[in-house]
Symmetry: D2
Subunit: 297 residues, 4 copies
């Protein structure tokens, strides 16, 4: 009940910056080459993170964010020149993302509201720089809530014995309209074929501290095992169930007093926070994947 | 993306129970007297918590929750009989709350949406057993969001130099219509007169780890001091600013990378979770106040 | 660098109390009977905790701690009378432990020092009310450190292909000389026969957040899976590896920067704290085991 | 109880590296200049961290760790050349620290053993790369424990009304024999004169979550205020009591059950862990001070 300044404005304050992401075999001179390139084109570096799995023969990762004011290259020029001058000699896997182009985030959900509502609110509040082209669900329950935000809602029911049709429909919706997808407690297992065909990262929130309690009903399993903490894990989806690269995890303390309903309630707060942190990191190009693990800058 | 059971139903599953809350000077025989009374009237105790500040000359606190099925007393009979047989001999300050009577929770807010939206969602999701008679705000910004939930919204603007009129208006709204009030980032300091006249508990969420950073702009102060954790504190409001009995606190890790905007964003997640836990404890009659401190069972 | 009061004295301040532990089928009247019994014999209850897995047909657990001053029964009388008057009618599994009799805690270790040194220091500092009859190890490395505390050290090497002789030797040492044993990073798997023959609780600290990473080298597995938190679990040992009832768990945050050596270092602090909390709870008779899970009051 | 690999060897595995620390006014080209310099002298960068308080007109901080193998400069040459070629043009405040020269850490303590024993154990275990020239104490209680580690112990009693003599004695001990000092619960307030004359960083552990509960007896104050978390803060000491730059903080949950003795016990585990993390960061040259705040890489 204290008079602070006015709340943050609800539009995301998009910075006039670009993010350069690099991974390549580690060797001497990478940082010098990249920073010399940026400096010579008058880019002002705001933040820089790097990591090497091993300075001898390992993989090098880098994320640099720089102001575009003063940069003497257009985006096309940057991509061409950097490719020739720096990326090719060092064998880099790289991309540059301009913050002026927010990522398009498709959300899939089922009946649970806590994760999707949290994402929608964070976008509206200006915490996330994302555009949400639509929400897809195999149930109609959350349609009114989603429409409140002015976001299209696609009901794609799933046939019990054949998911092919629904996955095909989802693919059609995603293609060309989203940069990545988030499974906000979407209660269907997606096929390997589907994942391959999406050609985009898919982030899932699993309601356990992976690798403990893979699969269905983890809170029930957690109760049965008598754990003293429950957790949640946000990860990129791969064809192996709940085994993709972990982006973020967290836990909360529970006790013998808590039944499955209580674990579920306590877990919801962890799930939405973990998913939000993972989505924010992805939106800001802070996550690099390497051999089923992530580097999160 | 795992097929669990159906989401929890959204109506709060109200148990057919009562909660007995007691505080009195500690001495031998209290537990025996209370449990003997409940047993003799066929009450089945579900949970029991007790605490003594000092077994010799201290204060004793107790919360017992029991099933009403089988109880051979009406509520009026219970109150009369318990008063005579147990409470009076032991000099108890006590009350019994039937879970069939949900508490009426008035919410006051300003422009920040994260705490109030979180409370409304939790009520809708069935996490809280509360009825929200209305929301009061000194700004109109959140009216559409509140109305989405079908909850009345009262706009009570505050004159800069004279809060008397607005406080009077709020008092009139609260009187007889609410059992307690929650300041969900309500950005006005309430007067001692107002607090005295409400005759009900008022819960506030302060965006710092009290007693650090009392007053306005705690995130700015946290940044200036260079702390490595930011926190939030839910407390009952007293006439002394940010000094009332603390119900719940939590913190999150921050670093030199985080500016005031980042601290504010990180802090929001702590604020809403801490407030929710405090409100839930209050709704379930788990909080007893003693000498500006709380016992939270 | 502030002048506080003098440090706590290093002898454990043993209270003149007893702890009554009960588990039995839940039904009406248990609390009334127990508290009436204690009151009628002039016991002053200091703390009381109870839990029921289900008020209808579940199991009821209770821990009551009471002052012995004024109690009108000797220990033998208490055990006889309580057995007849309360325990038998309710079918209770129960025991009473007098705080004047500290538990004898045997410690087994190998080469890692962090857990055993932490336990020894806590005993010396007066944090634990335990007597340590001896330390057993399959290596001689820690003998000088243990002897510094004036505690006997038994070197019991383990034959690679036949553990029978070493387990037999350990059994002989334990029999009659210890109330429970702690595996403070003892790097040998104990046989089911051994565990059955010890006739005492055995507490282990496992260096992962169970049930994730059962077995050897959990930090290596944690690194391979790319988890963002590492944990430790204290549990009672059963014949199934790392699957016994969990007493306590905790985690710490790690990142892509941390290799196995770093995870091991970070994990050590979690291991010793989790083990210490579990041991303290056990020493204070706060842990009740039920169907491979624990109730920790 | 799982057979892992052998415990880590107890000697610190000192890497053949150097750490370059820089702070200067932020402007374009710093990273390019530094990394170009290192590359041109064949240094292999292992890790690099940087931070800017504001890319426009702020202060820039950088820490780079690089392998010495292949470097074509001696330490003296490095210092001379880097100074001329890079540091001077950019107006840098900088230093380079060779990991082959462990820091000499003097420890001051009083009667509490938990922080100092933890530091000594970590050094012995090879967690810290530090040499401990001696321990200074105003009490003799911990002398036997310190001597167990083969470390000299200086008893420097403090006159109640005049600290001048003891501070003078401590200064004489420190001068030329230590690179920094750690107050491991040293219960004397050091004068501003003393701090100025030490000419070295002094790290203190304060047993509260600063800025809450500055000064003596913070656990008593925490109990009086009824907080739900207690904390500890490691900071560099300045002439203003408990107000120096914070290096690390952490908290633990407490409840109404915990009296001052329990808060003290719970707090001890936080104190030693927070102090250890701060000391480790300092030893690894990860902490840069700027305007009473720290950047911790």
């Amino acid at each position: 009940m204290q008079p602070d300044a006015t709340p943050t404005t609800k539009a995301y304050a998009r910075p006039n910056t670009a993010r350069l992401l690099i991974s390549c075999p580690d060797r001497r001179g990478i940082v010098a080459a990249v920073s010399q390139f940026l400096y010579s084109h008058n880019a002002n570096i705001i933040s820089s993170d790097q990591h090497s799995t091993d300075p001898e023969g390992g993989t090098f990762f880098m994320r640099q964010e720089f102001h575009l004011e003063g940069l003497d290259l257009t985006k096309a020029q940057f991509e061409k020149t950097f490719h020739e001058v720096v990326a090719t000699p060092f064998g880099m896997d790289w991309k540059v993302w301009y913050a002026s182009e927010p990522k398009r985030m498709a959300i899939l959900c089922s009946k649970y509201d806590h994760c999707i509502m949290d994402l929608l609110w964070r976008v509206r509040r200006g915490e996330f720089d994302a555009e949400i082209p639509f929400v897809i669900s195999n149930h109609q329950d959350l349609e009114p809530d989603v429409r409140t935000f002015g976001i299209p809602f696609h009901y794609v029911p799933v046939e019990k014995n054949d998911k092919t049709a629904s996955e095909q429909k989802i693919l059609e919706l995603l293609k060309g309209n989203a940069d990545f997808a988030v499974l906000a407690r979407y209660m269907q297992i997606l096929s390997g074929d589907f994942l391959e065909n999406t050609q985009m990262p898919v982030i899932n929130i699993h309601h356990s501290f992976l690798p403990a309690f893979v699969g269905a009903n983890p809170y029930k399993s957690a109760l049965a095992r008598g754990v003293k903490l429950v957790g949640a894990t946000a990860h990129y989806v791969t064809s192996e169930l709940d085994a993709g690269p972990i982006i973020e995890q967290d836990v909360a303390r529970v006790s013998h007093r808590d039944d499955v309903k209580a674990l579920t309630r306590i877990g919801r707060d962890i799930e939405r926070n973990v998913l939000a942190r993972a989505v924010k990191a992805h939106l800001e190009d802070r996550v690099l994947v390497h051999q089923n693990k992530t580097v999160v800058f």
